[in-house]
């Protein structure tokens, strides 16, 4: 048999959930092992960056890259793996659109450092030390990655071939993608067109939701713990802010089925650039508001509007960063 295909997995600015999602494919892991040589996977396998550097260009068949680009190390690794890989996959919401780490784009780098190294209640830093990209100790120069001004999704930094959305991508979807990929590679079939979103649907979460919609008008929002929602009726109709209408299908509606509103982790649906704009468009038909004041009164019941509508997509949205960090008083 010819050499096995080569697979690399990497994490940049992410939480680690995407790695678990790969492991959660259970026995599919054996298929991965049977068909791929894992040449790099820091969380599970002991290869070093220099091993990747030593590989010929385009010698990695597929790279599953999770995490956003927050510092110079993330960027270097993204560029290195892009160079070495034939197929680059943005794996998970952070790599696709920034995800939760992308919400830090609402704050300046200075205020993030100030909070993390000085203000946070759990910090013990009597000397007030803050990391610097370069410092001299005993005549040696030590370096740390440079923390960038903002977080960018992977496709802002390198060319991305495919995207697997989700926070994290659901394991059944990951398993199915892997099975398809192995079939394509092993049998010399045509790859899907560049830019294809893999492991997800072409509809919205809302279109696949089993809850009954009645086009009710709502006069306030409830957080999930403030209401015992009817188990069969649409959550949005009951005032629970649901991102279902602005989110790509593919997760199987696990949250809405369990009574928790969709938070939007599968990213915007096909033909939508901006999840926030999409949900504002959708919500406008259910608000019981005849004036802008009415709208404001209803919005006052929604904790953190930007964090709610851009929870996953801020770093890849039309205005992906706060333009004025002097804004005080977070909603």
């Amino acid at each position: 048999m010819a050499d096995k295909f080569k697979l690399a997995l990497y994490w940049a600015a992410s939480c680690g959930g995407c790695e678990i999602a790969v492991l959660d494919t259970e026995e599919k892991i054996l298929d991965i092992d049977a068909n791929f040589d894992i040449v790099f996977w820091p969380v599970a396998v002991d290869f070093k960056v220099k091993d990747v550097e030593a590989l010929p260009d385009k010698s990695i068949t597929v790279c599953l890259f999770n995490g956003g680009i927050r510092n110079s190390e993330n960027e270097e690794m993204a560029k290195l793996l892009r160079k070495k890989s034939v197929v680059m996959v943005a794996f998970g919401s952070c790599a696709q659109e920034g995800c939760i780490p992308g919400l830090a784009n609402l704050y300046s780098r200075e205020s993030i450092f100030d909070y993390v190294y000085h203000q946070s209640p759990s910090v013990d830093n009597p000397d007030g030390v803050t990391p610097h990209p370069e410092s001299r100790v005993n005549g040696y120069t030590m370096t740390l990655p440079v923390f960038y001004e903002r977080l960018r999704p992977l496709h802002h930094v390198v060319d991305v071939d495919y995207t697997i959305p989700g926070c994290p991508p659901q394991s059944d979807q990951v398993g199915a993608v892997i099975t398809t990929l192995i079939d394509i590679l092993a049998n010399g079939k045509e790859l899907p067109p560049k830019g294809t979103v893999l492991g997800a649907g072409e509809k919205t979460c809302c279109e696949e939701c089993l809850r009954e919609r009645e086009e009710k008008k709502i006069s306030r929002f409830y957080r999930p713990h403030e209401i015992i929602a009817d188990p069969d009726k649409c959550l949005l109709d009951q005032g629970v802010f649901c991102m279902g209408p602005a989110t790509r299908s593919g997760c199987g509606g696990k949250c809405v089925n369990a009574g928790i509103p969709c938070r939007g982790c599968y990213g915007p649906p096909p033909n939508a650039d901006d999840p926030g704009a999409r949900i504002i468009a959708a919500i406008s038909s259910v608000l019981d508001a005849e004036t802008e004041e009415d709208v404001n009164r209803i919005l006052d019941t929604l904790a953190d509007p930007v964090g709610t509508i851009y929870r996953f997509g801020l770093a890849d949205s039309i205005i992906p960063v706060s333009l004025d960090f002097n804004h005080k008083g977070d909603e």
Binding site: V86, M88, L106, L191, K194, D273, I280, E292, I319, N326
Partner: protein
């Protein structure tokens, strides 16, 4: 010299655009700072249009629909009003003054009101100063093309051929 404010006006076809047309036919003076884009209904104005207008260089955005009760499509103007109100909140948190976005209601007979509104809003936006989009431009150095979501391009297309070499 200070730069002139650039304002995008989204006007519904049935009331506001006809009103603006009336202002023109009657040779009323309107503010040249307002560039009009006609939509069939103010309810057709996707929040994306407004965000993109700001991203691509507008200092202010004016949304104009029929008076309540007059919408050709029943309640498109209510939807537009709600969208504008929600967007203002979001803009504020994103560091863009909500006063740069305004919803007005102008009927087909109110050419004079349209003319007055264009000057008033131009002055509001002028008072706010040019919208400082330095940070935005740094994000999208490619300029004003449609496909701005990928500011830096990586490598080229992949081909099935490249994959199969083992």
């Amino acid at each position: 010299m200070a730069t002139e404010p650039r304002i995008i006006g989204f006007l519904c076809n049935w009331c506001s655009y006809t009103g603006a047309d009336l202002a023109g036919v009657a040779k009323m003076k309107t503010s040249p700072n307002v560039r009009i884009i006609r939509t069939m209904c103010s309810g057709r104005i996707d929040p994306e249009f407004i965000l993109k207008a700001f991203r691509k260089g507008a200092d202010g955005v004016l949304v104009s629909g029929c008076h309540f009760g007059d919408c050709h499509y029943q309640e498109g103007n209510f939807k537009a009003m709600r969208r504008v109100a929600m967007l203002k909140r979001i803009l504020a948190r994103l560091g863009i003054s909500p006063d740069r976005l305004k919803m007005v209601y102008i009927s087909a007979a109110e050419g004079d009101l349209w003319a007055k509104t264009t000057f008033e809003f131009t002055e509001t936006v002028r008072a706010l100063g040019p919208f400082d989009r330095t940070r935005l431009n740094a994000l999208y150095p490619a300029g004003n093309g449609e496909n701005e979501k990928t500011p830096e391009k990586g490598t080229g297309e992949i081909t099935a051929n490249e994959v199969h070499h083992g």
